[in-house]
């Protein structure tokens, strides 16, 4: 079984991103990382390979040539080869465009299982996996906290509001990883050295016959308004009074 897994380059989630004066992100001093949710996906793919259920793990990333580093990270964790769909830095990418580009790779590689992070921690769109499902026509199991592969099916334990739900999806299938799926390993130092020798192909949107024409564009950023300090109410009566007359949430 061939597994395709995504690896998006995102701003380190531990960094507090600042805005410059004109409503753009100030990315001059930030570090980048492999999207943590994609990391769960990579770990799961490598585990499937170690368990003998997958023969090959292919990592795909859509981004500038800098994204090669995130692909190398996944290769160092144990993936076999990488594909970068390279786009220009100033190119607008919306989730649908990214889904189309990944679909282009899916058509080339014909994997049986596609693992994605449920979302990327930068834009938090949570759309690419589902859109890829529509584009490919494959079944999908989103927000996976558990994944088993049996007899041509993926059994996906999903985290849903108020509990969990298991779905059984025929392969080829799309699975998006949630944070309880596994505990990603460190890329070992020899793994990093070996990753350098693993193949990494660079493709352009043209190679995949995909036109990059984003329908959603970011027009600006602003910080959420600062929260005013709270008040401590003396008793329930005062609380009710405030809810009724100040907040006007009860009649």
């Amino acid at each position: 079984m061939k597994v395709l897994v995504t690896a998006k380059r995102v701003v380190d989630p531990d960094v507090k991103v600042k805005l410059d004066g004109s409503g753009n992100l100030d990315l001059s001093n930030v570090e980048y990382k492999l999207n943590p949710f994609d990391e769960y996906g990579v770990e799961e793919a490598v585990k499937l390979k170690e368990a003998g259920k997958a023969d090959e793990v292919i990592v795909v990333s859509v981004g500038t040539s800098d994204s090669q580093k995130e692909i190398r990270t996944a290769l160092a964790m144990g993936a076999d080869r990488g594909i970068l769909v390279e786009v220009d830095e100033d190119e607008d990418l919306d989730p649908l465009t990214i889904a189309k580009l990944i679909n282009g790779v899916v058509q080339r590689e014909e994997p049986q299982l596609i693992l994605l992070g449920k979302l990327a921690v930068d834009a938090e769109n949570n759309q690419v996996g589902q859109m890829l499902g529509a584009l490919t026509g494959f079944g999908q199991g989103t927000f996976a906290y558990r994944l088993d592969i049996e007899d041509g099916y993926a059994i996906v334990g999903r985290e849903v509001d108020g509990g969990t739900a298991d779905v059984k999806v025929a392969l080829p299938a799309i699975v998006t990883a949630d944070l309880r799926l596994n505990e990603p390993r460190y890329a070992s130092l020899p793994g990093i050295m070996k990753a350098k020798k693993k193949p990494l192909d660079v493709l352009t949107p043209d190679d995949l016959d995909v036109e990059v024409d984003a329908q959603v564009r970011v027009v600006g950023y602003e910080l959420p308004p600062e929260r005013a300090a709270g008040v401590i109410v003396a008793d329930v009566d005062e609380l009710i009074e405030k809810l009724r007359n100040e907040a006007k949430v009860i009649g």
């Binding site: 990382k33 090669q68 580093k69 190398r72 990270t73 160092a76 460190y186 890329a187 070992s188 130092l189 020899p190 793994g191 990093i192 050295m193 070996k194 990753a195 350098k196």
Partner: protein
């Protein structure tokens, strides 16, 4: 009593100055000149300002000079592999070293689960070439420096224990004969890897690694080793040592000494810092060594000055990591700690000291990177390594003690890590750990 000549002279001078003679000799003239000249220059300036400017060329857009093309003089960007190494080791240090640092210092030992975690990281395999069971194709002092910085950021004591054996492996890969590599370096790639330490320090004032009292006397079938090594980091529990000794008639040389050899005595020597590394004194009392014990096999095969410089870089890298940890901690603390109704970082005495600590730490880092990158480029680097060692000793201690100072009473108690960092930085400055890049 004859008149005092000095008093007489002074008397004459003051009379001249007070008399109208000064005027008569024209001494006042230059003063008037200055005044007059000054006025003229003033008028000229006003005239110049009145000049009007017209465009001399037609430009449709502003013209700027291009930045100079080609390789920059200064590029400190780690390559992807180095960046990944650094990220991985940073994560290991944050997950395993930082949370265990206090316990390891109290127990004066590196916990077994930390050792196990470090083995999973596979640093040994990253040091050894494939023929010795590893994965290394190219060695790099810069990469080694980046790794040691991150380990030092986590905890210096455990970092020395963990990286000490790797340093020995690296040294044998660099300098050992095929036989020495197969015997002493290859086991690092196997389960139950050996523990080893580099022993250079000797217990006396202003110790210089080029002037050794530990001596090796040649004999027909080998050497006899006499002397005592002090504050050998990770030295209390070792399978073998690499010992620096004066080979009589030759100069400083390195010897591989198995700890079970007769005449080798080890005594724990707990010190102010590096407690988790179990510093020890090691005595050699007429230890009989075979001729194969000489690292490199032949007299002069090892460049001892190169070895010392690489040790200095390694030690400075640990100090850098620890100093950066202090700065990070202190900045957070001073921004969160309120006194007089505002964060203490609003006080200049606090903010300026924190800024100086950051300057010194990053300055040390840059000098050390330069040394390491010159080593990788095959250029001379002993001067830069020495400068890094000096900065590590002086500024490391400055950063450590300033960290304690900025935390006030909290700097003294073990609730916060700064006193531990201070002790470790102090120890690194006084007696360099036997690490090697």
């Amino acid at each position: 009593m004859p008149p005092d000549p000095m008093a007489l002279g002074l008397n004459v001078l003051s009379r001249v100055a007070a008399s109208p003679t000064a005027e008569r000799f024209g001494l006042r003239e230059p003063i008037e000149n200055v005044v007059h000249g000054g006025t003229r220059i003033g008028f000229a300036a006003i005239q110049r300002a009145a000049r009007s400017f017209k465009p001399l060329r037609k430009l449709t857009s502003p013209e700027r000079s291009e930045p100079r093309a080609g390789a920059p003089l200064f590029d400190l960007t780690p390559d992807d592999e180095q960046e990944l190494f650094r990220e991985t080791v940073r994560r290991f240090a944050a997950d395993r070293l930082t949370p265990n640092a206090r316990a390891a210092d109290d127990a004066a030992a590196c916990p077994d689960q930390v050792r196990a975690g470090f083995e999973e990281l596979g640093l040994a395999l990253a040091v050894l070439p494939e023929a010795l069971g590893g994965a290394c194709e190219q060695r790099s002092a810069v990469t080694g420096t980046l790794i040691l910085e991150e380990l030092g950021r986590g905890d210096v004591g455990m970092a020395v224990t963990l990286a000490g054996s790797m340093s020995v492996a690296q040294l044998i890969v660099d300098c050992g004969t095929a036989e020495q590599q197969a015997r002493y370096a290859a086991p690092f790639a196997e389960e139950d890897a050996p523990r080893a330490a580099i022993a250079v320090n000797e217990g006396r004032m202003l110790f210089d690694p080029f002037v050794l009292k530990t001596r090796a006397r040649p004999k027909p079938d080998g050497f006899v080793l006499y002397g005592e090594k002090s504050l050998v980091a990770a030295g209390a529990d070792c399978d073998f040592y690499v010992v620096a000794a004066e080979l009589l008639g030759v100069g400083p040389s390195l010897f591989i000494v198995e700890s079970g050899t007769e005449g080798v005595e080890v005594m724990p020597q707990p010190a102010i810092g590096l407690r988790a590394a179990q510093t020890a004194a090691v005595r050699f009392d007429g230890v009989q060594l075979p001729s194969e014990a000489l690292l490199g096999g032949e007299i002069g095969a090892v460049d001892y000055a190169d070895f010392v410089a690489r040790m200095r870089i390694a030690n400075a890298a640990l100090a850098t990591g620890c100093a950066l940890a202090v700065v990070e901690y202190v900045v957070d603390y001073c921004n969160e700690r309120y006194a007089f109704g505002e964060p203490i970082s609003h006080r200049q005495a606090v903010a300026f000291l924190a800024a100086d600590m950051a300057i010194e730490s990053e300055g040390l880092q840059l000098v050390n990177w330069r040394a390491a990158s010159r080593a990788d480029a095959g250029r001379s680097f002993d001067k830069q390594a020495w400068m890094a060692a000096t900065l590590a000793a002086e500024k490391g201690m400055y950063v450590g003690t300033s960290g304690v100072q900025l935390l006030g009473g909290h700097g003294f108690v073990k609730e916060h890590p700064v006193e531990l960092w201070y002790r470790n930085l102090r120890a690194l400055g006084a007696a360099p750990a036997g690490l090697y890049v």
